[in-house]
């Protein structure tokens, strides 16, 4: 028999939270996504642009280069396919299809987490109504208490996180965070012996499997988070191993493997012999240009917040493996930042999510403890409730408005930059590209990082005009060349880059070429490509990626200008 008093409180809070806070937030977000444009993150728009070329028969990694694993581009095709399918009924831009797709995932994450908590409350209360061994009883009671104090905060975290990372909406780490939100709860509760709707579990396992393949460190992070949630306990591990979610995840991974082997030999060769080794090299090589105090974006606050978050986790993990799994996600997020060696905001999305989750849960637990103290002293039962609600609502709304304002300011700056520091006499890259190329004309922006190129080229619907959508390989290849290490696969890749680029230059594929910074220019020079550029293009001046090195316009190294070349035919 259920103990209704034990279930009613957390379920009531969850229902109230969903209806009173999450639903209005989702409606607000939907409106915001629908009415705003040009706010997709850089890497997402790069992946979408590349995915579009694949739909037109181009080969991944062979015709265009990027570091992301193949599955990312398969997902990137979905908005275009949806547009083809539903375009007649809903004539929307791909940008909107993408946003709505991610919104759907966000909504699913909310609903799944909500369902998991709700179902867990009922199941736990039901079990606790029966005689149990003392250790098991204690574990289940702690779990119920944890859900009671933390479930609504956990849901709110997803909302706050979405606003905080509004400019990374749809980025791979964002998607991972959306997946981990219900997944970690699922794993934790399944390890305790609870069961959930089979179809939902399968869908969740599918999402977890896909999410873990979106970037190279993700499988390890997913594995460690899952193990932490299961307390490395043999019983918990076995319960989870036989759950629908886990089996679905395994099947998904298997399916992804089969899909990989279905790719052409050329693509697989490129991925295994070029992309993966380059990515591993990228993890080991630091850009010497990232030096002075303004040489990279500053996101110290994430590490500062990680300190109290992990301290709280260290204290709470003894009693809750769910907290331990969140801490593991935070540590995983920090690891990604260390591996990427850049400092972009997109490298810290997972860390931000885990930070917020831990800090909100900590706050919620502290508030509950304070409330219990007040309850013991106040005769009225409404007093503590009012106190609780007012604190939570004040904090939530304050944070929401602050973060939303922050997003608004950043968005405006992204569309129409007015940084404090400007390179005199140079206009912004937005204006240069817009005035010197037409809709659907290819533009090639060579940069060590894709931010000057994307989302600009995606928003202006300029297809990619060259092989290196992400110019990072140029720096790596230059470094290998200098140390006489350009051999084997890397030599093959280098020759492929030159051949592709020469071909594109000779065909005048791009109307406009912009070369950013020292490395790319040197790369063109040393590869002998500048001659072809001179033959087919005319230098028309310089432009700047105007920014104060804040989202959404972040840069690395020095505040370089971009050299602009226009096709001689277009100049005439």
């Amino acid at each position: 028999m259920e103990d209704r008093s034990k279930t009613n409180s957390p379920i009531a809070k969850l229902d109230l939270c969903m209806v009173g806070l999450i639903l209005p937030f989702l409606l607000f977000l939907l409106h915001d996504l629908s009415t705003r444009s040009g706010d997709l993150p850089s890497l997402l728009t790069l992946h979408l642009s590349l995915s579009q070329t694949l739909l037109f028969g181009q080969s991944l990694y062979v015709d265009y280069f990027d570091f992301a694993p193949p599955l990312v581009f398969e997902l990137g095709k979905i908005p275009y396919l949806l547009q083809q399918l539903l375009g007649g009924l809903f004539p929307l831009r791909v940008e909107l299809y993408t946003k709505y797709g991610v919104f759907f995932l966000l909504l699913s994450s909310f609903l799944t987490t909500y369902y998991l908590f709700r179902s867990a409350c009922r199941q736990l209360a039901s079990r606790l109504a029966f005689p149990l061994p003392s250790e098991e009883r204690e574990t289940l009671q702690k779990a119920l208490a944890q859900i009671d104090t933390s479930s609504t905060s956990y849901l709110l975290v997803l909302a706050i996180f979405t606003i905080y990372e509004r400019l990374q909406f749809g980025d791979v780490q964002f998607l991972l965070a959306l997946t981990l939100t219900p997944w970690l709860v699922y794993v934790w509760l399944t390890g305790l012996g609870l069961g959930f709707n089979r179809y939902l579990s399968i869908a969740l396992g599918l999402a977890a499997g896909i999410a873990s393949l979106l970037d190279y460190p993700f499988p390890v992070i997913m594995l460690l988070c899952t193990l932490a949630a299961l307390r490395l306990n043999a019983l918990a591990l076995s319960r989870f191993a036989f759950s629908s979610g886990f089996l679905s995840m395994v099947l998904t991974l298997f399916g992804a493997l089969l899909h990989y082997f279905s790719l052409s030999e050329e693509v697989r060769h490129a991925f295994e012999h070029w992309v993966v080794p380059l990515k591993m090299l990228s993890y080991q090589m630091f850009d010497d240009g990232i030096n002075g105090w303004d040489g990279a974006p500053d996101h110290k606050e994430v590490f500062y917040l990680a300190c109290p978050a992990l301290m709280f986790a260290a204290a709470a993990a003894l009693r809750s493996s769910w907290i331990a799994s969140l801490a593991m996600a935070l540590v995983g997020g920090m690891l990604i930042f260390l591996l990427e060696k850049q400092g972009f905001a997109r490298d810290l999305v997972l860390a931000v999510w885990a930070n917020l989750a831990l800090l909100f849960i900590f706050f919620s637990s502290s508030l509950s403890w304070t409330l219990d103290l007040i309850k013991s002293r106040m005769p009225s039962s409404f007093g503590p409730l009012i106190f609780d609600l007012s604190i939570r609502l004040t904090l939530t709304f304050s944070l929401f408005f602050f973060l939303n304002k922050r997003f608004e300011d950043a968005y405006s700056e992204g569309i129409n930059p007015h940084p404090l520091r400007v390179i005199k006499g140079l206009s912004d890259i937005n204006i240069m590209v817009e005035h010197n190329s037409k809709w659907k004309e290819a533009v090639y922006i060579l940069s060590d990082y894709p931010d000057p190129a994307y989302p600009l080229l995606f928003n202006l619907e300029r297809p990619p005009g060259g092989y290196l959508l992400n110019g990072r390989p140029a720096r790596i290849l230059l470094a290998l060349k200098k140390t006489n290490e350009l051999k084997g696969d890397m030599r093959e890749f280098y020759e492929h880059v030159i051949a592709q680029t020469l071909q594109d230059l000779d065909r005048k594929k791009a109307t406009l070429i912009l070369a950013h910074g020292y490395y790319l220019y040197q790369f063109l020079e040393e590869a002998g490509l500048l001659n072809s550029v001179d033959e087919n293009y005319e230098r028309i001046g310089d432009t700047a990626f105007l920014t104060d090195n804040k989202e959404p316009r972040e840069y690395l190294g020095a505040y370089y200008a971009l050299t602009v070349f226009k096709s001689r035919a277009a100049v005439k």
């Binding site: 002075g292 303004d294 040489g295 500053d298 590490f303 986790a313 260290a314 331990a324 801490a327 060349k481």
Partner: protein, 640 residues
């Protein structure tokens, strides 16, 4: 004695012997490094060298800030008096004395922790702490540039204090014989930097959350901890007013706003070089393992209770490093150490269960394991010592006889500035180095044994300029400070007449040119060359054209004085030379004769080194040409 031995069971003696062996291995691991330092007797980094120089000035009766300038609180200067006194007592070079004092502190720290573990073995999980002890011992053996830095010294008594607090928090009352000295010395070393107190706070918080033993907060060691900082504050306030005025009105404002000139961006601080990223990866690794262990029964065990305090100090140290906004390796030192010892502790924690089972199965296993550990460590130590002794055939060593010491020091331990100081000055000659940082003036000047010729052992005009850049509103205030320090520097040069003045070309010269520094204060100096992007000015009395006198001419004139054909004054008048220049030539000629007439070869390292540099330049140019030819070949192939 016999009855004592017989009163204890055999197991007791086996375990004790095993413990002694493990401790001996630990000490061996730590102390083998002494051989490295004896092979590098003059190696020291810039910060440590300047503190040693300041300690020498303190022993000469000088007062910090009033008589010599620095940004830092004075405790480190006074603590460095200890190695200076050791150096004077045993006639050692100060850098070697510093290294030996630090090694001694390290050994004491290990012994104290080992004693704590042994005495309180019933309440402390000894097995996981053994790898911890080894990791702690090993850490200092990796120190080179950061040997003796404040962060390094801090760890020597913070770790024993940490251990002691854990013992207290988890229910045992340590003896006052431990509590009082450990607390006091920890408090003394925490006073080196205010942020160290934050680390002590983090440790305390971690223990509290693990033990929930609030009564442990007030204890003998926490009270002893406060003695040194309180005494320090009182003594600090007793510094002369002029000294405090310089500190609060000049040093601190410049430091507060001016350190940005050397600041690095956030990713650079974490990921740029191996010595930054490795500690962070170790931190990530240790946290990963910790959060896997914590929810398990191992995490809830007596040994697992120590994980939270370790995590807390790791995170606290990370915050302290990031907050500094500088990519200086020594600032990362505490976090690097804490992450490594946490990893070691975790390894011990995981292995402790199977090891305990093995010990229970066979009592002799502990002694066997200890013997294996000792044997392995001894072998490692032997390899290290052999490596320190190896002199590669292409390595040049500097004979320290000219500096008044015996032995040799590898040439790589010195900057070029050191050699220019040796070549152009005598042991008692004062030198002033005006650069944008401490290096290369120090350590070169300390290594050369040349006293400072100004209150400014290093100059800070670039920091002042950075401060104005960051805060244009404070332009007037910093203009006043800049004028003051430039005037002080000039005044010191005019008053003390240092034999050599080093003036960095960029950006310092340009900054000082606005004050007409060279014209106003270096009128008695002649530029004689450059080294490490710095112009060298020698005291010549008037401006003098060295180029007018070639080596043979100088030898003729010097020999005339040495043969007593002329007095120095007569020679100076006859050949129209400044007397200081003539005296310098005579001194060097005499020293050169004596050196040449003794049974040694001349030092040709500089000539040979220059030859090597020239050859490398040629090789580089040829490689560039080769690269171009390869490109042309590639293009030809493509066309075909």
């Amino acid at each position: 004695m016999n009855s004592f031995i017989k009163s204890k069971p055999l197991e007791y003696w086996i375990v004790s012997a095993a413990y002694v062996l493990v401790l001996a291995a630990c000490l061996l691991l730590a102390l083998q490094r002494v051989f490295y330092w004896t092979a590098h007797p003059l190696f020291v980094c810039s910060d440590q060298s300047v503190y040693l120089a300041m300690a020498e000035l303190i022993l000469a009766g000088k007062i910090p800030y009033r008589d010599f300038f620095d940004f830092n609180p004075p405790l480190i200067m006074y603590l460095n008096v200890v190695p200076i006194m050791v150096a004077r007592l045993f006639h050692l070079p100060p850098p070697l004395a510093l290294a030996l004092v630090v090694e001694a502190l390290h050994a004491i720290s290990i012994l104290v922790m080992a004693a704590l573990l042994y005495v309180y073995r019933k309440s402390v999980p000894v097995l996981p702490f053994l790898p911890f002890l080894f990791a702690y011992a090993y850490f200092t053996t990796l120190m080179e540039n950061d040997m003796g830095q404040r962060e390094h010294l801090f760890t020597f008594f913070f770790m024993p204090y940490f251990l002691l607090r854990g013992i207290r928090h988890f229910g045992t009352r340590p003896s006052n014989w431990f509590s009082i000295p450990i607390g006091f010395f920890c408090g003394l070393l925490l006073s080196l930097k205010p942020q160290f107190f934050f680390l002590a706070f983090c440790a305390e918080l971690g223990f509290l959350l693990s033990s929930r033993n609030w009564r442990a907060l007030i204890s003998i060691e926490t009270l002893s901890l406060l003695v040194a900082p309180l005494g320090y504050i009182l003594l600090f306030l007793r510094l002369p007013k002029e000294a405090l005025k310089v500190l609060f009105e000049q040093a601190l404002p410049i430091y507060q706003y001016g350190t940005i000139w050397s600041s690095k961006c956030f990713p650079h601080m974490l990921c740029s070089y191996d010595y930054f990223i490795r500690p962070f990866l170790q931190l990530v690794g240790s946290l990963t393992i910790a959060f896997l262990i914590l929810p398990t029964s191992l995490g809830r065990s007596r040994a697992g209770a120590w994980l939270s305090p370790f995590i807390f100090i790791c995170l606290g140290a990370m915050v302290v490093y990031i907050q500094g906004a500088q990519a200086w390796t020594y600032r990362l030192l505490p976090m690097a150490l804490f992450a490594q010892v946490l990893l070691a502790y975790e390894a011990g924690l995981i292995c402790s269960a199977p090891l305990l089972k093995a010990f229970q199965m066979w009592k002799g296993f502990s002694l066997l394991a200890a013997l294996a550990v000792f044997g392995g460590t001894a072998h490692y130590a032997n390899l290290c010592i052999e490596e320190y002794r190896i002199v590669p055939p292409d390595r040049f060593d500097i004979n320290l006889e000219g500096l008044g010491y015996s032995g040799f020091s590898p040439r790589n331990d010195f900057d070029e500035t050191f050699f220019s100081m040796i070549e152009n000055s005598q042991p008692d000659d004062k030198i002033v180095h005006i650069g944008s940082g401490i290096r290369p003036g120090y350590p070169a000047q300390l290594q050369a044994g040349r006293p400072p010729g100004s209150r400014y052992l290093y100059f800070m005009i670039t920091m002042i300029r950075s401060a104005v850049e960051v805060n244009p509103k404070l332009k007037d205030k910093f203009a006043v400070i800049e004028k003051q320090v430039v005037e002080n520097l000039g005044e010191d040069i005019l008053k003390n007449r240092p034999n050599l003045v080093y003036l960095q070309d960029f950006p310092v010269r340009d900054a000082l040119q606005e004050h007409h520094f060279v014209e106003r204060f270096l009128g008695n100096y002649t530029e004689i060359g450059t080294v490490d992007s710095t112009s060298i000015y020698r005291l010549t009395g008037v401006k003098f054209n060295y180029a007018a006198f070639d080596v043979w001419r100088r030898a003729e004139i010097a020999m005339a004085v040495l043969r007593k054909e002329l007095t120095a004054e007569q020679a100076a008048a006859k050949y129209q030379l400044p007397i200081d220049v003539l005296n310098d030539w005579v001194k060097r000629a005499k020293a050169g004769l004596l050196r040449r007439l003794s049974d040694r070869t001349l030092d040709r390292e500089a000539e040979m080194q220059k030859e090597i540099y020239d050859l490398n330049d040629r090789l580089f140019k040829m490689n560039l040409e080769k690269g171009k030819l390869e490109q042309e070949l590639f293009k030809l192939k493509e066309k075909q």
